[in-house]
């Protein structure tokens, strides 16, 4: 046992039907350190954290807090013992106010001093410079602010162990910086922080130590200086890492015929979600991207293309023919597929099986009165489970019991099965491990090589640069530039996003 360990987990085991989620995992967190927990999707990071926070009961092993063996039965228990968590998905109540969310379940006695609660909340929000009012309804804040409120809630309770499960996946760079300075100041105070993230950069920026999991087993614990990036990646993947930068071949843009009729063409397209009318076209075999800061309107643009929100005006041509796209089904019938940004809210149908989730779009296109036979549906599901190597116990498993990355693959499978000519992927790689990210990027390029057109949106610029041959840059709901060829580099893109002459 180490003297300064705040938390020790030894030999933790957790089983789900058909899956060994954790097997004999050790984890040690020392006082005043930021400890990264790394691993691919389904490696067991989230499960380990849920065991630690009492969401799941463990099937074996011991947990010690400051050397004392403890038994954590519920999240409330964990909180009382000083273990606070901010989960990957926001778990607050959108219909309550910010202050209520921060103090819910933590007031003593049946009475609440609303005034005090609101002033306390306001003070805390202020000290963390979170741009939200205490009395504002949480649902009216952006996802980033909601995430920060969740962190504020966790920080405010007297915590010894702070768990951040992918807190940065919906934050932009500025907000990440703010969060990091907050983490560092908490570290000074002796709080042990467990940091789960997929962003390697961020790990090397703030963390002291790394614990790597793979397939539910412990790979090892490393001091950050001893583990260069490439090695970390290869430890996570369990194989030598092939260079990501190589996935895009040099001359891949050559086969696109820019002179021909575009697969999809929009003129003065506008929706009701606050984007200015925009023109857009995409050619056969082209991969393009929409980029811009969070909230710049890039998602709204592609939603307008798909008819996901009400379309207010503009003309649309598919293969040179004028068509009307007012609702998703119109778009689907014209060969457009859309993988939405918010997987949990817009993508998965949680209680339905993986199979039903895969066939859903194609089934809807086929029609209400023409259901697929069971064997046909199973054949589709099995084909795509294999093709995208989706980790699931069976095609009958409800999709909600899959890990985030595998859920994403299922949604991807759904839209690939629909066999679109134009595929829109809005943040397909968010909250997904690096192995799957590369897989998805490779898949995008493969689809393009097969003659499909793809729009690819990502918050990570280098990912966009690697995959896209043309970038539409957005700022404040307007298209402010289009970059191609040699302009596709970090500096030019940044400059265009930031504004100035373009």
């Amino acid at each position: 046992m180490e003297n300064n360990a705040v938390l020790e987990m030894r030999g933790i085991c957790k089983y789900f039907p058909g899956v060994r989620a954790l097997e004999n995992v050790d984890f040690t967190l020392r006082e005043g350190e930021i400890h990264a927990l790394m691993g691919e999707n389904g490696a067991g990071k989230s499960t380990l954290i849920k065991v630690l926070t009492g969401v799941y009961s463990k099937d074996g092993g011991d947990i010690r807090l400051a050397g004392v063996p403890v038994h954590i039965r519920s999240p409330q228990d964990a909180q009382n013992m000083g273990i606070s968590t901010v989960y990957q998905e926001i778990t607050l109540c959108p219909n309550l106010t910010v202050a209520e969310n921060m103090y819910i379940g933590r007031t003593k006695g049946p009475l609440t001093n609303w005034k005090k609660m609101n002033t306390d909340a306001a003070k805390l929000l202020d000290s963390l410079s979170i741009p939200a009012k205490a009395t504002q309804q949480l649902g009216s804040c952006s996802i980033a602010v909601q995430q920060m409120v969740a962190i504020a809630r966790a920080v405010d309770s007297d915590c010894k162990v702070l768990i951040l499960d992918e807190p940065t996946s919906s934050l932009d760079e500025q907000e990440v910086k703010k969060l990091f300075s907050l983490m560092l100041s908490l570290k000074e105070k002796g709080v042990g922080i467990i940091f789960v993230t997929h962003f390697l950069e961020q790990v090397y920026e703030v963390c002291d130590r790394i614990t790597v999991l793979r397939d539910g087993k412990l790979v090892g614990e490393y001091i950050i200086e001893d583990l260069p990036r490439v090695q970390l990646v290869s430890k996570m993947l369990g194989k030598e890492f092939d260079d990501m930068a190589e996935i895009k071949s040099e001359e891949d843009a050559a086969h696109i015929e820019y002179d021909g009729i575009p697969v999809y063409e929009a003129e003065k397209l506008t929706g009701t979600t606050g984007i200015a009318p925009f023109d857009f076209e995409i050619h056969k075999g082209e991969v393009n991207g929409f980029t811009g800061l969070l909230g710049s309107g890039r998602s709204e643009c592609v939603r307008a293309i798909f008819g996901a929100d009400r379309v207010a005006g503009g003309t649309v041509k598919v293969n040179g023919k004028k068509v009307k796209i007012n609702k998703p089904l119109d778009a689907m019938k014209n060969g457009i597929s859309y993988l939405p940004e918010d997987r949990k809210r817009d993508g998965i149908v949680g209680d339905l099986s993986v199979r039903d989730n895969i066939i859903l779009a194609l089934q809807v296109m086929k029609g209400f009165f023409r259901p697929f036979s069971r064997s046909q549906a199973e054949a589709f599901a099995d084909e795509y489970i294999k093709l995208l190597s989706i980790k699931t116990a069976s095609s009958d498993t409800p999709i909600k019991s899959l890990s985030g990355g595998n859920q994403q693959k299922v949604i991807l499978a759904r839209w690939l099965l629909a066999n679109p000519v134009y595929l829109i992927l809005d943040e397909p790689t968010r909250g997904i491990d690096i192995g799957t990210k590369v897989e998805i990027q490779k898949l995008v390029l493969k689809l393009a090589a097969e003659g499909k057109s793809v729009t690819f949106i990502s918050s990570e610029l280098d990912e966009m640069i690697r995959t896209c041959s043309r970038l539409v840059v957005m700022r404040d709901g307007k298209v402010v530039g289009e970059l191609k060829g040699s302009d596709l580099n970090q500096n030019t893109i940044m400059a265009t996003i930031a504004g100035g002459e373009s």
């Binding site: 089983y15 039907p17 058909g18 099937d59 074996g60 798909f306 996901a308 609702k327 998703p328 089904l329 689907m332 859309y338 939405p340 809210r345 817009d346 993508g347 998965i348 149908v349 949680g350 209680d351 339905l352 039903d356 859903l360 779009a361 089934q363 809807v364 296109m365 029609g367 209400f368 009165f369 259901p371 116990a393 069976s394 759904r414």
Partner: protein, 376 residues
Amino acid sequence: MSVSENHFENLPKKSVSVIDTIKKIVQKQVFIPLAALLVLILFNLIADPSFFKISLDKSSSGDPVLSGYLITILDNASELAILAIGMTLVTSASGGQDISVGATVAIAGSVVLKVLCGSQSRPDQMQAPIIVAFLICLVVSMLFGAFNGMVVSFFKIQPMVATLILFTAGRSIAAWINNNELPVISDPKFGYYGNFIPGIPVPTPIFIAAICMIIIALVLKFTNLRLYSQAVGINPSSSRLNGINPQLVKFLTFVILGACVAVAGFIKVSRLSTINYSVVAKDIEMDVILAVALGGNQLSGGKFSMTSSILGAYVIQFLTTTLFKFKVSSSAIAAYKAVVVIVLVVLSAPIVREKMVQMKKKGTAAKVGKAKKEVA
């Protein structure tokens, strides 16, 4: 399930299959109503085996009829089972329940009588063919269903609140259709549908219920109704992005329930050849919702099992008839029913069932030590 097998790889083959089969059965949704039915059957078997006697008697007109408690149950549960079909779909797609079915059954019945009686209240002959009366009643009921559906799906009002309108007004509308008179049909032919067709010893409602079940089975098999309503009930937003129109699906389920109401109302008035607006199908909505809940379906919508709902309806009728048989006074029946229902619902709660599965496992697999731990 091939999945659970690998946990037991070190067990002898036989015990694997036993544990697995038990687990499989207990985890099936249909297990709950089936178990409830078994308990009721066992109870009656012990208390009074004559409960299960079925005899072939002669009716007053000299035709052969089957009689016995089991026949009564099957007969009386027909309306409940038919309504449970529609309620299951409404529950699945809208995540709420229609509490107006009792009142709309009264409307449906009233429409049938109005068409058959014409302007008189006690005609010697029916003024229209029965099929016409039924079809008009079907259309009217589906329109009332459409009204409920519209309020729920297009105005986005919670189903229970939306259907409160017709729950309150329905029986008045039913009385108003017949100018508050109590029409009586004297033609015995009208009574065939709620009682017996001469020469056939099985009550007609049983056949009608069976036909409805066959229809819904076919509909579920040859359309995507199940996939659509489940998807809409679980995640309307993602359903929409997959090309489904969630409003339309919810609306449709209410219209289908309307059709079920028409059939149930038709049987109800045919049983008596008349109607009592304030009593007909009284509180049936609660029994129907109970049937859906008893079938292990989540009342908050999403996945459903039609078989379990229908079985649930028969369980409730079985219970009611059992209570009648033991001379529980009709005013006290509701209280007894409540006790039984609370027991059944608690037993069927996922949390309790999980515990039950675990306990069973501990019993059967005590010797397997380690493997047991893995599954738990």
